[in-house]
């Protein structure tokens, strides 16, 4: 019998559908894998075995009765710990929510359950998704399964590590500035950030509301597309959500890429980029060209402005979004307090970690009177200009090919001392969040030290199918090469 944990999610699903695999057996295999690897990897904050097995029993019964028709029925999925799961602790990797158990499911959680997918646990992350290494978690860092001793990237480091370590076949992450795509690259897995609005944010504990998107993490492009199919779609509970015209993403995998216009921004290949990653991008371009795509380089401006604009907007929104964590209603409350204001101060001082506090301070500053115009409004204008630059690019190209991160995964413990340097690791990913664009990271070999390298493909709004088509074509061609 093949090792279940090495199978793709779609293979597992068809095995279950054909009656060759039972839902429980699949769950057993992934939990056994998690039990073995967790002490080292620490991809999960919570493993919800009891709930998972109860759910597995119901799903198996429904599959047997033929009630569930979903293409991923019975497949386990790990969920990032900032996505609400009713009855299962949801911490955002923060002390301030260490004991918070949601009373409602996020829209995506509901979608997973309705599709008969089994939620195996909640994955580790940077606290409130603020960070690029998963080292700011209150529950300790996650190790990179494909590069031990190195960070898995972040903030969805736990989700990517769980898939990379075969602890789960699929995971959900969230991406505000690169938080799915950058760790997917570091861990050597596939991750997709959908167009802003394609997936409901209802139940996602907000970091930067105008930038946050939930997306799939998987071993390959098809699994990614299959999971996206389940979670995408308009939700009346999220006013910013939109119904994409097409959500049959899986059908795009295998479509020909002949004539696909692929652009590589010259500015993205300049100094600061690890040479092997530059080579990987160019190699990927050759692979796509060989498959019939028209590949060319072009100039895409505004790169230098993306990081500052992102940190102003994301921090401003975060400073307001995180105000609700005050010790009054749920989560951590400091003891030994003297009155309301002291309770607020102590609770938040003790409950939030350093990086979260830094961004709250930054966000509060840029929104304060006298600075609002100079920082926040200017950042919004920059955001509009970045969107405009991409709009112009998409008049000429269907897909933009770029690095996912400037380097491969740094060693554990080396990043937090220099936050600006850490912020720069998102340089190729944040622009997409500012422009609301979809992006996918696919593995592209390793560097000299054997660390995974990822490349990013960017599409225009709601062209996820084009991205999946291109990413799948690359993935298959690279496999054969």
């Amino acid at each position: 019998m093949a090792d279940i944990t090495k199978m793709t999610a779609l293979q597992i699903a068809s095995g279950i559908h054909a009656g060759e695999l039972s839902v429980k057996e699949v769950l057993d295999a992934f939990y056994a894998s998690a039990d073995e690897k967790e002490p080292k990897v620490n991809a999960f904050i919570t493993l919800s075995k009891e709930e998972a097995y109860a759910q597995a029993e119901n799903v198996q019964a429904d599959i047997d009765k033929g009630i569930i028709a979903s293409p991923l029925a019975g497949v386990p999925v790990a969920v990032k710990d900032n996505i609400s799961t009713k009855g299962i602790r949801t911490t955002c990797a923060s002390k301030i929510l260490y004991n918070y158990v949601p009373v409602f499911d996020a829209f995506v959680t509901e979608r997973l359950k309705n599709a008969g997918m089994i939620i195996t646990g909640k994955t580790n992350m940077d606290e409130f998704a603020m960070g690029s290494t998963t080292e700011t978690s209150f529950f300790g860092p996650t190790d990179n399964p494909n590069a031990p001793g190195h960070v898995p990237g972040g903030s969805s480091g736990g989700s990517c590590a769980a898939v990379a370590a075969f602890e789960a076949p699929l995971a959900l992450g969230s991406d505000t500035g690169g938080s799915i795509r950058q760790p997917a690259a570091y861990c050597g897995v596939t991750g997709l950030k959908p167009t802003y609005g394609a997936v409901s944010r209802y139940g996602l504990i907000a970091y930067g509301s105008s930038l946050d998107q939930i997306g799939p993490v998987a071993k390959d492009v098809k699994d990614c597309a299959a999971l996206l199919e389940i979670i995408a779609g308009k939700d009346v509970q999220d006013s910013t959500s939109v119904q994409p015209e097409e959500t049959d993403y899986l059908t795009a995998a295998g479509m020909p890429v002949k004539g696909l216009r692929v652009g590589i921004p010259k500015e993205y290949l300049r100094e600061g980029l690890q040479p092997e990653i530059r080579d990987a991008v160019l190699k990927a371009a050759e692979v796509l060209a060989a498959a019939g795509a028209d590949v060319s380089e072009f100039s895409l401006g505004m790169l230098d402005y993306a990081i500052p604009a992102y940190y102003v907007i994301a921090s401003a929104e975060a400073s307001s979004n995180l105000e609700r964590f005050d010790g009054v209603k749920y989560g951590y409350r400091a003891s030994d307090v003297n009155g309301l204001h002291d309770m607020y101060k102590k609770t938040r001082s003790e409950g939030f970690g350093a990086e979260v506090k830094r961004r709250i301070m930054l966000g509060s500053f840029v929104l304060s009177s006298g600075y609002y115009d100079a920082y926040y409004l200017k950042a919004l204008r920059t955001k509009a200009l970045i969107k405009k630059a991409f709009d112009e690019a998409f008049e000429h190209f269907d897909v933009i090919l770029s690095p996912a991160a400037p380097t491969t995964a740094p060693v554990l413990g080396g990043s937090l001392a220099d936050p600006i340097k850490m912020y720069l690791s998102d340089i190729y990913t944040v622009s997409l969040n500012l422009a609301g664009l979809p992006g996918i990271t696919v593995p592209c070999g390793t560097d000299r030290e054997g660390l995974p390298v990822g490349i990013q493909m960017v599409g225009d709004c709601f062209t996820e199918k084009t991205l999946i088509k291109a990413a799948y074509a690359y993935e298959q061609a690279a496999k054969e090469a």
């Binding site: 996020a106 504990i205 009346v236 509970q237 307001s320 105000e323 964590f325 005050d326 009054v328």
Partner: protein, 477 residues
């Protein structure tokens, strides 16, 4: 020689909208539920919850704005006002700062000094906060989020008012507009209409404004009038003593008739307003705006004119009837059921207002149906009941909306028109009251009333007092 001062007043009026559900979630807005029963993840600020705008809120805000002659911003936005307080579950309030829904309107008011306009600076939509309950006994505070997310509009005037009388006239006009549109019941006591008074004083003739204070906690028109007088003299005293007026928020204590500062300087607020990223801009297209415009009912000035013309009511009566939407509605429906307009007007103007006053109730509290009022008017008009009985029946109707026809029937209150029965009683009364009869015959005509009373008493009120009086007169002359 004392200087003369002028009071300059601007108002910030919060009006709670009469929607069935809250502004950003589907929870009920009903008043008086058990604490935290009209709540959900959205209005309790649970992590991950998101607001979805209630369309009706936009329609009410827009309609009030149109009635107040405002410009409507057809693309408007919501902003977050950030401040920490436990009644505010997200620690930010969703409001409108940068682009409010309505701007630049005006409302005509009339006082003893004549007519004038008060300009409206803006009207914006926002959410209400929850309620804190402090338990002094166990030194705990509790929070009830039932009110959290109840929709409000805030109507901000320009500093155009100069006296308490103008302020009250302005508030009455606002209340009338909101009530006529059905946007709010505007009950000050229950907090569905709240006014904050911004007040400064300056020497008469000066064109510059003095330093203003903002007064809160004003929950009746009378309290507002007293607060204005109190704050005016406090500020004048300061100025006369050469002391500065400090720009601050003050809480009016109506029992002490004095205002006290609410916040200290260290709390100087920076609300860090910014556009709420969870709510896309509100776009009101021409078609929707037209729909809203067409939905605005006949407002008071037009209604008053129609009452005078169509029903021949005196201006004074028309003014009172149209003074609240509820009275006007009852009046119109009663008349449409066939009642004589003057009679219907009389019942409302005299008996109804008297009972409202006696019971300290508002016209909104009226329980009797127009059908029953029309029935009563018919009973009285046809002489089926006399006026005393009619008033008695009306009181029952007022208390619990009884059916007047059934009630009169059940209690045998119909006027007895049987002349024989009346004559027998009249004879009996004459016989039993020889002394009074003597007095009457001696020219003391006012004792007739006593004799009529005796007849009514004998007949348990069912006689027609007019006929009884006439019969007594003819028998005794």
């Amino acid at each position: 020689m004392g200087r003369e001062y002028e009071t300059v007043i601007g108002l910030e009026v919060h009006v709670e909208l009469a929607t069935a559900t809250k502004i950003f979630c589907a929870c009920s807005t009903k008043f008086g539920g058990e604490p935290n029963t009209h709540t959900c993840p959205v209005c309790t600020g649970m992590p991950g919850s998101l607001p979805v705008l209630n369309k009706q809120v936009v329609e009410y805000a827009c309609a009030v704005g149109l009635a107040a002659g405002c410009h409507i911003n057809q693309v408007c936005k919501f902003d977050r006002k950030n401040y920490f307080y436990p009644d505010n579950p997200q620690n930010y309030q969703i409001s409108q700062l940068y682009v409010p829904i309505c701007q630049d309107g005006r409302i005509e008011i009339e006082t003893s000094e004549g007519k004038k306009y008060v300009r409206i600076h803006e009207i914006h939509m926002e959410e209400d906060a929850g309620k804190l309950i402090h338990d002094e006994y166990d030194d705990h505070s509790y929070v009830d989020f039932n009110r959290s997310g109840v929709p409000l509009i805030e109507i901000v005037s320009e500093p155009d008012m100069r006296s308490a009388e103008e302020v009250i006239a302005y508030l009455e006009q606002l209340r009338m507009i909101a009530q006529y549109i059905g946007a709010s019941d505007c009950k000050l006591q229950e907090g569905s209409m709240r006014a904050d008074v911004n007040l400064s004083v300056r020497e008469k003739g000066s064109t510059e404004f003095g330093t203003r204070t903002e007064m809160k906690n004003l929950n009746s028109f009378k309290a507002i009038a007293r607060a204005i007088e109190g704050e005016r003299s406090r500020q004048i005293d300061l100025i006369e003593a050469g002391k500065p007026v400090i720009q601050e928020t003050r809480r009016w204590d109506d029992t002490k008739e004095y205002s006290y500062p609410m916040r200290s300087k260290e709390d100087a607020k920076d609300y860090r307003y910014f556009p709420d990223p969870d709510l896309p801009p509100v776009c009101i297209d021409d078609e929707w705006l037209e729909e809203i415009r067409n939905s605005i009912p006949e407002l008071r000035p037009a209604k008053m004119e129609r009452y005078i013309k169509e029903f021949g009511l005196p201006e004074y009566d028309a003014g009172i009837l149209t003074g609240t939407k509820k009275l006007a509605d009852i009046f119109e429906e009663t008349v449409s059921l066939g009642a004589n307009p003057k009679k219907a007007s009389n019942w409302l103007m005299v008996e109804t207002l008297r009972l409202l006053k006696e019971n300290s109730e508002e016209p909104e509290d009226i329980r009797f149906s127009p059908q029953h009022l029309a029935d009563l008017i018919e009973l009285a008009g046809s002489g089926a009941v006399n006026s005393t009985v009619a008033k008695e029946v009306f009181e029952k109707m007022y208390a619990s909306d009884i059916d007047p026809k059934a009630y009169v029937e059940e209690h045998g209150l119909k006027t007895v028109n049987d002349a024989g029965a009346l004559e027998a009683v009249v004879d009996k009364v004459i016989e039993n009251n020889p002394k009074v009869v003597e007095e009457f015959r001696g020219g003391k005509e006012k004792v007739l009333g006593f004799l009529v009373g005796q007849v009514m008493k004998e007949m348990k009120g069912k006689a027609d007092p007019k006929s009884a009086g006439e019969m007594l007169k003819s028998k005794l002359s």
